[in-house]
Symmetry: C2
Subunit: 318 residues, 2 copies
């Protein structure tokens, strides 16, 4: 959440001139996105988000991400389309960094979502799953439960215990989960990270799903389980809101009814979602110096969710 | 340059509803301003900047700053007007922090200004000096050369030498400068910090002077000297661009001709401007841990400018 690179007004004006979007009127660095620099750009013809890819994102994968936005937007999904430059390119280089210009979408991210909002998000998620089925590009999900288990194994128990004394036990639970992990459920390109801050809404309407930089080919029901884990709890994972969960799944099924095997798999898929965020947060925590002025997210927030799904099983989705 | 406080969409919508500005459509945390949190807010009726005052600003001084914007805007100066809430208040409290809503102005900040742009900035500066003369509130400048000299004295020579071996010698130069500091030049409310990033421009037109949080009553020619030091050099202060300086002063004088005593004082006033930024940068440097992810600005950039003004004297303004 920062602007890592300074782009001066003249740099920005030159860059914007490479697109058929009018002349630069305003540019504000915005505190958004994961490890990218972002600017809210206004031109004489509209507003746009300019992203500079700083790290974490393999530039070779940009055509997948940017093409996906175009594919979904062209099918009426609420995602920002990629603005192509005058030569038709979806991304450009500025110095040695890749940049892309995408549509600005109105809306704000709910922090205390209502069931009606969760229902709309479920429906929007199902829409992208259906629309992405014929997207011609693909990308392997590199944050599967197996990847996450490997991440946790790469850190010693002592190291994990530095974060929380209860954390090391997730390594065994991860191994157990891998044994139970389902295979063969229907796949599409999934968002994989649809937290409320990646959703823009106006009232109860979804105006944009954003930040597709974890999108990959995987089981659609897993994406619903990720979204369930991301939306139905308070921040710490201590309190579950069943009304949000029911509305989310109902909204999803209003657009794409789940197969019985998918519905049955939701609890274990939700455990896998928790494992993923426990592992990535533990990794980030151990990579971030304690005195850095960056908010470290507590992996235990998702251990609590994991406990809930493990204990409640199918009742979590009743 | 950050967003220090998280304000959720619901918090923001509630806050915006206290103003007669339409309904919230979008809110982006922007990386702007000194130690405040800022959001670019879009409503159904327009765009606004929401500022939350985090530190460095004495809340008791907000009426001075926000009233000044209204005063200047009402006199046609290119500054954002303060939006008052439904009860007429210029600022409100959110939790225990003060917030204010101000006009959004188009424009971008030049990083390689042209002489034509410098001329327009000089004229805009003179306009605020003239318009502020009858502003009924006042505020003491707490960053005079005397204050800056005291700041430097508060740090030992050893401590200053940690930043740069050549830095400790500025303490003696500061004492010498105080002896030569002019008095009795014409005063108004001055901006005091008109670096290019506090100016919004579209082409050669000034669309906004922003960030008045150092504004205070002081000599108008001193403000012109501050602006000269801020605009006429490369970042490190190693290279002076006389065309920018000439255009800046000419633009100023096209609106408000300098008295002969003011013109004569410009070199020593510019030395004072350099002292101020040397002192504030040294203070910030020593207050910022070396490993903090914050860019520390080198005080030596303004020691070099100081050298230039001391050596060139009146030639710097010829």
């Amino acid at each position: 959440m920062a602007v890592y690179t300074h782009l001066g007004a003249e740099d920005l004006a030159r860059l914007i001139a490479r697109y058929d979007v009018g002349e630069l009127v305003s540019a504000k660095g915005i505190a958004e996105g994961i490890s990218n620099s972002n600017w809210l750009i206004e031109t004489t013809r509209g507003r746009f988000i300019l992203t500079m890819y700083e790290r974490r994102i393999d530039i070779g994968e940009l055509p997948f991400f940017l093409g996906l936005l175009d594919h979904l937007a062209s099918r009426g999904c609420a995602v920002p389309a990629t603005i192509h430059d005058r030569d038709g390119a979806a991304s450009r280089k500025v110095d040695d960094k890749a940049v892309a210009l995408i549509e600005f979408l109105p809306g704000v991210s709910p922090t205390q979502p209502s069931p009606e909002q969760a229902r709309a998000v479920g429906a929007a998620l199902a829409q992208i799953h259906l629309a992405a089925r014929d997207y011609p590009q693909t990308r392997r999900n590199d944050l599967t439960p197996k990847d996450s288990a490997t991440t946790l194994q790469s850190h010693g128990e002592d190291e994990l215990a530095l974060i929380d004394p209860a954390l090391p036990q997730v390594r065994e639970r991860a191994a157990d989960l891998l044994e139970r992990w389902p295979e063969g459920l229907p796949e599409s390109i999934i968002h994989s990270d649809l937290f409320p801050d990646n959703v823009l809404m106006l009232g109860e309407e979804v105006t944009g799903l954003i930040d597709f930089y974890f999108a990959a080919r995987d089981m659609m029901a897993y994406d619903l389980a990720v979204t369930h884990a991301a939306w139905c709890f308070d921040k710490t994972g201590a309190r579950f809101d069943p009304a949000i969960g029911q509305a989310l799944v109902a909204g999803y099924e209003a657009v794409r009814p789940l197969d019985p095997v998918e519905r049955e798999a939701l609890p274990v898929l939700a455990e896998g979602a928790c494992l993923r965020f426990v592992a990535s947060r533990a990794e980030d925590w151990l990579d971030t110096p304690a005195d850095a002025q960056v908010l470290r997210k507590d992996p235990m927030d998702f251990v609590r969710r994991w406990d809930f799904y493990a204990e409640e099983g199918a009742r979590a989705f009743a």
